[in-house]
């Protein structure tokens, strides 16, 4: 028996390694092994594909081109994957996701072009999956590129809105779908379409659609968008699997599609908004104007010094740290851990309350704190710790805003009304470390800052925390 006949078996084994890889991710101890098993399966699948008939038929040239392409891709992947800072992870994930989507779109184009070239009309099912793969892959590619730009700071992270935006987005999507239907009907012999032109037009419109989809979405909604684009690329790969009649691609793509879908749903739910609302409401479009430090009824915020904070923390028994995107931006996670270590050495109980959408991707805060070697059993989910805030002596809010706003509970007129929040306002004392009085992403005032028990410590999160650490060391 030659290798060729064994290829489907190897693909099956690879599919199993992917399931095992994802299964491994259900626990921190099995995760590394799982990831490596999946990587090994991937390597195996790629290796045997060199022996596949379709590939071998291209002759030696294909081996050269593929090897060169793989070398290029590997260098890009290793360089990108190794050099990127942990705080820049969300954009890196977006970038690699876009690469997969782009590849899936290209595979759809090439396979379709081949079938035209040969002159045989492709099967109806193949045409449907081709246009789906092309559209979803294209949207994912362009959307991920925009998400990358926003996260990297190349593009403004604010929601980008202009008059007639929804109409234009709808037109782009509409035109794309009409053309796609045209290709399918053409295949059925019902209408006549200039096939290559239609294909390129669909590809172009898919890219536009991806841009139009992500541009109006603001930074804080990125956890939803990244999960969604992840699901899209998975689906595009599954569609490419249908086109090529390759079950491995279908399984892998579908698994990712399922994972992306679950994460998207979790993230939307954590904001108490529907996916449609996230995509089309243009939340956070207002440019974060400075919020008044004084409320209409005369209440004002109370500014505290690092000494005050150090004293307050030093006499606490229970401290809950509430990290947000501001901690990531300032790269304050190491300083935060140093602070926690000092407090723990004094016998103070320190825990971290993680809101599901804190940061810019699902689980963002967990990864950052893990990078700073914070034990993961100290990281508590919102449901797990929310009841405990009332027993906390100090809630230390570092770069988080909207997820702590009590208005979400009480104020029906607030745009974030109904969003589950961390019960920071129930702690005995609240310290908020914040750059300035700028409003959070949602562009609304935070009642918490006017609460008499809240002290505001203004400054860069990393510097502010480091100063508190120094004060604590002095006192010790």
């Amino acid at each position: 028996m030659d290798i060729e006949t064994w290829i489907p078996v190897v693909y099956l084994i690879t599919a199993v390694t992917f399931v095992l890889g994802l299964k491994g991710l259900t626990g921190p101890t099995t995760a590394v092994a799982g990831n490596r098993i999946a990587a090994a399966g991937m390597l195996l699948a790629v290796a045997v594909t060199f022996a596949a008939k379709e590939f071998a038929d291209y002759g030696v040239a294909a081996i050269g081109i593929t090897a060169a392409a793989m070398a290029t891709g590997s260098v890009a992947g290793v360089a990108g994957g190794r050099m990127v800072k942990m705080t820049a992870m969300p954009q890196m994930v977006a970038l690699f996701n876009g690469a997969g989507g782009g590849s899936a779109a290209l595979v759809s184009i090439l396979e379709y072009a081949r079938s035209i070239e040969v002159g045989s009309a492709p099967a109806a099912g193949a045409v449907v999956s081709t246009v789906l793969g092309l559209m979803i892959g294209g949207v994912s590619f362009a959307g991920s590129a925009i998400a990358f730009g926003k996260l990297q700071g190349i593009l403004s992270p604010r929601a980008y809105r202009y008059p007639g935006q929804r109409l234009l987005t709808a037109l782009v999507f509409g035109a794309m779908i009409v053309l796609a239907l045209g290709l399918v009907l053409d295949n059925a012999g019902l209408v006549l379409v200039e096939r290559p032109t239609a294909l390129w037009a669909i590809a172009g419109l898919a890219l536009l659609a991806g841009i139009a989809l992500v541009m109006p979405i603001g930074g804080a909604d990125m956890p939803v968008v990244i999960s969604l684009l992840n699901a899209y690329t998975g689906l595009a790969v599954a569609m490419a699997g249908f086109v090529l009649g390759n079950q491995l691609l279908i399984v892998a793509g579908t698994l990712v599609g399922a994972s992306g879908t679950i994460l998207t749903r979790l993230m939307s739910r954590a904001m108490n908004r529907s996916l449609a609302n996230v995509l089309f409401a243009g939340f956070g479009a207002s440019a974060g104007a400075a919020v008044a430090a004084r409320a209409d009824d005369g209440r004002t915020t109370r500014e505290v010094s690092t000494e005050d904070v150090a004293i307050l923390l030093g006499y606490a028994q229970n401290v809950i740290v509430v990290p947000g995107y501001g901690m990531a931006v300032a790269q304050a996670q190491h300083a935060v851990r140093e602070l926690a270590d000092l407090l723990e050495a004094k016998g103070i109980n320190v825990r971290y309350a993680i809101h599901p959408v804190a940061g810019r991707m699902p689980g963002h805060m967990n990864v950052l704190l893990a990078e700073a070697n914070v034990p993961y059993d100290k990281l508590k989910d919102m449901e797990e710790i929310n009841e405990d805030f009332k027993n906390a002596d100090v809630a230390l809010v570092i770069g988080a805003n909207d997820v702590t706003n009590p208005a979400a509970r009480a104020d029906k007129s607030s745009p974030i009304y109904g969003m589950p929040i961390l019960n920071v306002d129930q702690a005995k004392n609240v310290i908020v470390i914040k750059r300035s009085m700028r409003s959070g992403f949602a562009g609304i005032d935070n009642e918490l800052y006017l609460d008499p028990k809240t002290g505001m410590l203004f400054g860069d999160a990393k510097e502010a925390v480091a100063k508190v650490v120094q004060e604590l060391k002095k006192a010790a």
């Binding site: 294909a62 392409a69 992840n230 994972s259 699902p362």
Partner: protein
Amino acid sequence: MSGDLVLGAYVFILAAFVGLEVISKVPTTLHTPLMSGANAIHGIIVVGAMLVVLAVPGTLGTILGFLAVVLGTANVVGGFVVTDRMLAMFQQRPKRAAPPAQKK
């Protein structure tokens, strides 16, 4: 309706159930590695890219085929590297128990 397509549909639907079942058990802590790991897995598209790398003759066809493989490989390699780095951080726990204790 071709048999291939129906077979594909079976695989698609069953894989969707497996995916939903397995992934709904992933804890919040590991959501980022999950996304990044899933990201690497859809890099399997590189196999598809290889199968069509020279499917279309001519310069444009070759360039597109080349690009498909480049993007697919970057996706796989980058995805696994990033995931491995993230997971390594979740493993470092045992090493750290010492420092805070010494300060007492």
